[in-house]
Each structure stands twice: as C-alpha cells, then as structure tokens.
C-alpha cells in the first residue's frame, strides 16, 4: 500500500492544521480510546487515565509528535518509524487490533475539530495513512 501524490498533499495540509493543537488532539484521541474501548487500558496500568491527567496529556502529545514525524517523512515513513516499530514489536507487544482502534479515535477527533476540512477525500487519505502507520508499527512482530 502506498500513498498517491494527492493523498500525501491532503495528509500534509491537515497536519499543518493539526499541529497547532497537537497536544489537545493527542490527549482527546487517547481519552476517546480509553472511553470507548476499555480493554485498551490494559497497556497502561502505570498511568492515571482520568480525563485531564498530566500523564494522558504527555502521552497524547508523544503519539501525535510521532505521527508528525511520519508526515514530515511521508516519502519514507518506514525509516521515520523504525525505532517505534521495534519498540512496539519487542517491548510493548501491543495487540495489532488496537492500532485500528487508536486510528479510528484519531479520525473521530480530527472530524470533531475540523468538520469543514474533514471531507470524504480527506477521511479516505487519513484512514489510509493511519493504516500504513499501523502496518509499519506491527511489521516486526514476527
């Protein structure tokens, strides 16, 4: 699966909007994940997961920053995410199904924050991008 030129342009233009509210978007994405999919909390026994928790904010910020790295290296996302790919494969071992859940919650957050921009075409490009990111993060699992 690879991104077309127009998909890349769409992804980057939404990123530009997102990046000004990156922390808020990251935090909200995680809040949505833990609220709709309670089982995902299993990976964070060491965190305070209540809305407003500083750990949630810090982690949300980290997740979106990593996505930013992927966007900035959109022509070579594998290289940009190598370290994270290894982390998820060898140390975190997050069940692959959870990447779909997180991706969905990010798209919901983007849709809620940028309704006019989140057209069907933008939705499709970001869904594809998150699918690409997820497959890279799980590619070293076995």
């Amino acid at each position: 699966m690879s991104l077309t030129k127009s998909e890349r342009a769409v992804i980057m233009s939404i990123w530009d909007k997102m990046s000004t509210q990156a922390d808020a978007i990251g935090t909200e994405t995680l809040e949505r994940l833990f609220s709709s999919y309670l089982q995902t909390k299993t990976y964070f026994p060491h965190f305070d997961l209540h809305p407003g928790s500083p750990q949630l904010r810090e982690h949300g910020s980290k997740v979106v920053a990593a996505l930013g790295d992927a966007v900035k290296n959109i022509n070579n996302v594998e290289v940009a995410l190598t370290r994270l790919s290894e982390l998820h494969a060898y140390i975190l071992r997050v069940d692959p199904v959870n990447f779909k859940l997180l991706s969905h919650c990010l798209l919901v957050t983007l849709a809620a924050h940028f309704p006019a921009d989140f057209t069907a075409e933008v939705h499709a490009a970001w869904d594809k991008f998150m699918s690409l990111v997820s497959s890279i993060l799980t590619e070293k699992y076995r």
Partner: protein, 147 residues
C-alpha cells in the same frame, strides 16, 4: 448481547433527535464507498461511482443511505432487542446480499465519524462511547443469522 445503561440510552436518543437522517444517511454511505472502495462491489446498479464527488453526489447513494440510517432509528427505539429488530434485515444481508459482516463494522465507524463532523465538541468521548456500543450492537444483530 450488548447491554445499554439508562444513561447510554439517553445519550443516544438525545443525539438522534438532532440527526438529519436524509443528509447524514447519504453522507455515511457515501463515505463508506469512498474510504473503503471495495464496498462498491455491492452497488453495481448505482451508476456513477467513479470519484469521491460522484459518489457523494449520487442520488441512489443518498437514497439508500437514508434507508440505512432510518433503520438505525428503529434500533434506537428498541435498544433492548436489537437482534429481534434486525432479524429480517440480517436474513436479507446474509442469505440474499451475501455481505461480509466486517462491512457492518466499517459502516458503523463511518457513521460515528459523520456524527463527529456534525456535532463537533458535543460529540464528547462519553457520547462517542455510547454510539460505539450502538453501532457494535447493530453490527452484531445484522450478522446474527450467519451463525
């Protein structure tokens, strides 16, 4: 079986009251066909599906989307009996249309995203959570006759 608390039921009904079924039904089905193009295979008779704008503007897509979302309205009136409510539709989708149940999950999630675009801040994590339960319950009910 999916169980809804009374709070979840009120959350779902409250938002449903503000949903424009015609507009959002068309948008939901349209987005399914755009974001997951393989789903177009079930709609050969719908005419022009050649681009996102063709799909989103296609009158047959809009009409069918309205039908689909209307059935969600029935679900919301019968949250304690989704399987019964969808028994006939389940038979139709399974025995006649041969739709892979994965598509029910995809459509449900697209609906959640469409709700988010329309309701913005009001579509809080708690509201989303109640709706995820609903779309999951509908997907399970529609897939019931496969077993």
């Amino acid at each position: 079986m999916v169980h809804f608390t009374s709070e979840e039921k009120s959350i779902v009904s409250a938002l449903w009251g503000k949903v424009n079924v015609e507009e959002m039904g068309g948008e939901t089905l349209g987005r399914l066909l755009v974001v997951y193009p393989w789903t177009q295979r079930f709609f050969d008779s719908f005419g022009n599906l050649s681009s996102p704008s063709a799909i989103m503007g296609n009158p047959k897509v809009k009409a069918h989307g309205k039908k689909v979302l209307t059935s969600f309205g029935e679900a919301i009136k019968n949250l304690d009996n989704l399987k019964g409510t969808f028994a006939k539709l389940s038979e139709l989708h399974c025995d006649k249309l041969h739709v892979d149940p994965e598509n029910f999950r995809l459509l449900g999630n697209v609906l959640v995203i469409v709700l988010a675009t329309h309701f913005g801040k009001e579509f809080t994590p708690d509201v989303q959570s109640a709706w995820q339960k609903l779309v999951s319950g509908v997907a399970i009910a529609l897939a019931h006759k496969y077993h």
